[in-house]
C-alpha cells in the first residue's frame, strides 16, 4: 500500500457568499515512501490548495487523504504539522529577528521537547545545508539561496515523514534554484523522507522522480 494515498480529493470555496469555486475536483494519486515527486500546474490549478491539505492546514475537503495508512483528519492538527510534515515556502519566511540556528530550532519551541539530541540534529542539518559557519547570522545577512537552505533545515529539524516544498525555487535564480532542488534530492536520500515539490517550472519538476500535473483542479 502506498505511503500517501489521495483519492477523489475535492475542495470547494464559497467566494463572496455566492460564487462557488472548485479548487480541486477529484484529485487521485499515490506517493510511495521516500519518493520525491513534483506537482506542476498553472496558477489556479489547485497546487496550493493541495499543499495546504497535505500540510494539515486545510481540513475542509472531501475525499480521502491517507498518510501511512491513516486518515489525515484523524491526526491532531498540531501533532501532524509538527511531526508528520515539514514545510518550505517560496519566500523562505524566516523570522528576521532570530539567528540561523534559532530559526531552525523554532519548530522545537512549539513541541516543548527538550531533547539533548536536538543540538546534534541542528549541527548535522547545518552541515548538510552547508551553513555551519553562518549559524549565528541573521536572515538579512543571507543570500536567497542560503535563506532557503535555512528553511529546508527548519523543515527537517523535527524529523518529519514528508517534506512539502511550495515553489522553493520561485524566488531564486536558476543556478541557485538547481542547487536547492539538488539539496532536496539529497535530503530525500539521506533523511529518507518523502518530498512533494510544488512548482510551476517544468524544468525543475523534471529533476524529480515523478511529475503530477494539475489542470483546473484535476490531475491529468
Amino acid at each position: 500500500m502506498s505511503y500517501v494515498q489521495i483519492e477523489n480529493l475535492k475542495r470547494e470555496y464559497v467566494m463572496n457568499k455566492e460564487v462557488l469555486v472548485e479548487a480541486l475536483r477529484g484529485v487521485t494519486f499515490n506517493i510511495e515512501k521516500r519518493e520525491i515527486i513534483s506537482v506542476v500546474g498553472a496558477s489556479g490549478s489547485g497546487k496550493s490548495t493541495l499543499l495546504n491539505i497535505l500540510g494539515g492546514l486545510d481540513r475542509g475537503y472531501t475525499g480521502k487523504v491517507m498518510i501511512d495508512e491513516r486518515d489525515v483528519k484523524e491526526y491532531n492538527p498540531n501533532f501532524y504539522r509538527r511531526h508528520i510534515v515539514g514545510t518550505i515556502f517560496q519566500q523562505f519566511y524566516l523570522i528576521p529577528s532570530l539567528s540561523v540556528e534559532e530559526n531552525i530550532l523554532l519548530p522545537m519551541k512549539f513541541t516543548g521537547d527538550k531533547d539533548i539530541e536536538v543540538k546534534k540534529r541542528l549541527d548535522y542539518l547545518l552541515d548538510m545545508v552547508g551553513l555551519e559557519k553562518r549559524r549565528k547570522h541573521f536572515p538579512k545577512e543571507l543570500s536567497g539561496g542560503e535563506a532557503q537552505r535555512v528553511a529546508i533545515a527548519r523543515s527537517l529539524i523535527d524529523t518529519p515523514k514528508i517534506v512539502l516544498a511550495d515553489e522553493p525555487t520561485g524566488n531564486l535564480d536558476s543556478k541557485t534554484g538547481d542547487s536547492i532542488v539538488n539539496l532536496l534530492k539529497e535530503v530525500n536520500k539521506k533523511e529518507e523522507v518523502t518530498v512533494i515539490l510544488v512548482t510551476h517550472d517544468r524544468s525543475i519538476a523534471k529533476k524529480t522522480e515523478r511529475v503530477i500535473t494539475l489542470v483546473d483542479g484535476k490531475n491529468v
Binding site: N52, G55, L57, D58, R81, T87, F89, I95, P96
Partner: protein
C-alpha cells in the same frame, strides 16, 4: 517561544516605546499616588510624633478639636455625645485615674483682635491658646526661646505671626501685643455669652518655630481674661458653667490605653490620643489613596486602549508570520501566549520606565518638597519620598496585568487566524 515573542516587540522599537509610554504615564501617576500618599502619611505622623507624645491624651470639651494646628473632624459617635463641661471635678477625677501622671488645663480664646505695638493692622485670626509651661517645658517641644516659663504678662507668637507683622523673630521679642475683645461678640470658649470690650497687653517672650498661626499665653492669665470679658463673678463660676477648653493628660507608658478607655467609656469625655490621630490619618490617607487610584486607573484604561490598538496593528502586520508559525507547528494556544507575552512585556516596559522616571523625579524634587514642608511647620521632616519596594512590585505587576488584559482580545484574534488565509495575506 518567549524569545520569539520578545523579538516581535523589538522589531518595532519606536511603536513599542510609544505604546509603553501610555503605561508609563499611568504608572507615574500611580507611583506618585501610592508613594506620595504613603510618604505624606509618614510625614504627618513623623511631624505629629515629634510634637505629640504617645503617652499624651487630650480631653476636649468640644467635638471639634484643634491642637497644635492639627484638625480632626468629629466622628458620628462624637456628634451624638453630649457636651461635657470640663470643670475641676473632672480634672480631679482624671488626676485620680491609675496611670495618670499630670493634668494640664488649657483654654482657647476667640473673639479678640490682636495688634502689635505700633501697627494698626489687626492679625487676621483671633485664636489664642493658653499654655502653662511652668514645670513642664516639654509640654510643647516645638517652643523655643530664652525663657520657656510663660508668665502672666508674657506671650509666645509663632514665626508666622512675626512674618505677618514683617518683623524679625529677634526684633519681635519684647514688643507689646494687644488683645482687644470686641463687644457683642457672643462666643467665649464655646459658650454663648455677651463679651465686654476689654484690652490686654502682653510682652512677646518668645517665638515658636512653627507656621501654625497661633498665640500662646499663660493658662491662669487666659482664665482671668475669660472671666473678665465674659462678666463672670469669679473663675469658679466660669469653670462650673463653661469649663476648660482642653486638658492635657500625661500618662505612664503602659497605662495610656487604660486611661483613654476609662475617660471615654466611664467618663464620656472626648479624648484624642496619638493612637486615634494615627488611625484618623491612616483612614484619611487610605480613603484619599483609593479615590486617587480610581482616578489613576482611568489613565491605565486609556493606556490599555493604546496597547489594544498596537496589538491589533501588529496582528495585521504579522498575519503571514502567524500563518508560518502555525504551519510549522504552533498551536492556537501558543499563538495566544506569544501575543499575551508581547502585551505583558509592553506593560512591563511601560511600568519600569514609569517607575524609573518617577524615582528620578522624586529624587530631584525631594529637597524642594522638604523645604516647602519645613516652611509649613513640618520641621521634623528630613526626607519626603522613600522608595517603597513593595509598592514598586505592585505597580510593576499591575502594569504587566494591564498589558495582558489589554492583549487578551488581540491575542485571541491572532490565535483564531486561519493559517491558510494567514499565509495568503498580503
Amino acid at each position: 517561544m518567549f524569545k520569539y515573542a520578545v523579538s516581535l516587540i523589538f522589531r518595532r522599537k519606536l511603536r513599542t516605546l510609544l505604546t509603553s509610554l501610555g503605561i508609563t504615564i499611568a504608572v507615574m501617576l500611580m507611583t506618585f499616588i501610592l508613594f506620595g500618599m504613603t510618604d505624606l502619611q509618614r510625614a504627618i505622623l513623623t511631624q505629629f510624633s515629634s510634637v505629640f507624645k504617645p503617652t499624651d491624651l487630650y480631653v476636649s470639651s468640644q467635638d471639634f478639636t484643634m491642637m497644635g494646628g492639627m484638625m480632626s473632624a468629629p466622628t458620628k459617635e462624637e456628634e451624638e455625645k453630649e457636651e461635657v463641661i470640663i470643670n475641676n471635678d473632672i480634672k480631679d477625677e482624671i488626676e485620680d485615674i491609675d496611670g495618670v501622671e499630670n493634668v494640664y488645663p488649657m483654654f482657647m480664646i476667640t473673639g479678640f483682635d490682636v495688634y502689635l505695638e505700633g501697627d494698626d493692622t489687626p492679625y487676621p485670626t483671633n485664636f489664642v491658646q493658653s499654655v502653662n509651661l511652668s514645670g513642664n517645658d516639654e509640654m510643647y517641644r516645638e517652643f523655643q526661646g530664652d525663657n520657656p516659663v510663660l508668665g502672666k504678662e508674657g506671650i509666645f507668637v509663632s514665626k508666622f505671626v512675626s512674618s505677618f507683622f514683617e518683623i524679625s523673630q529677634q526684633d519681635i521679642i519684647g514688643k507689646s501685643i494687644f488683645l482687644k475683645s470686641v463687644p457683642q461678640t457672643s462666643f467665649v470658649s464655646g459658650a454663648n455669652r455677651n463679651v465686654l470690650g476689654k484690652e490686654y497687653e502682653f510682652k512677646v517672650q518668645g517665638v515658636v518655630d512653627t507656621s501654625s498661626d497661633a498665640f500662646w499665653i499663660n493658662t491662669q492669665k487666659a482664665l482671668d481674661i475669660l472671666v473678665d470679658t465674659g462678666g463672670f463673678v469669679d473663675e469658679d463660676e466660669y469653670l462650673d458653667l463653661i469649663g476648660y477648653s482642653q486638658l492635657l493628660v500625661t500618662t505612664q507608658e503602659e497605662k495610656t490605653l487604660d486611661v483613654e478607655e476609662y475617660m471615654t467609656g466611664e467618663m464620656g469625655l472626648n479624648v484624642i490620643s496619638s493612637k486615634t490621630v494615627v488611625e484618623f490619618i491612616s483612614t484619611l490617607t487610605s480613603g484619599l489613596t483609593i479615590a486617587l487610584i480610581v482616578f489613576g486607573s482611568i489613565s491605565a484604561l486609556v493606556a490599555s486602549i493604546g496597547i489594544i490598538n498596537t496589538m491589533i496593528m501588529s496582528i495585521y502586520e504579522q498575519t503571514r508570520e502567524i500563518g508560518i508559525i502555525k504551519a510549522i507547528g504552533a498551536s492556537n494556544t501558543q499563538v495566544l501566549l506569544i501575543f499575551l507575552i508581547q502585551a505583558g512585556l509592553i506593560g512591563l516596559i511601560g511600568g519600569i520606565l514609569g517607575l524609573a522616571i518617577s524615582y528620578a523625579l522624586m529624587q530631584i524634587t525631594d529637597p524642594f518638597l522638604v523645604e516647602v514642608l519645613q516652611e509649613q511647620g513640618f520641621n521634623a521632616i528630613e526626607k519626603f519620598f522613600y522608595f517603597q519596594q513593595l509598592n514598586a512590585i505592585y505597580i510593576t505587576l499591575g502594569s504587566i496585568l494591564v498589558g495582558i488584559v489589554a492583549g487578551v482580545y488581540p491575542s485571541m484574534k491572532a490565535a483564531k487566524l486561519d493559517p491558510v488565509k494567514a499565509l495568503r495575506y498580503e
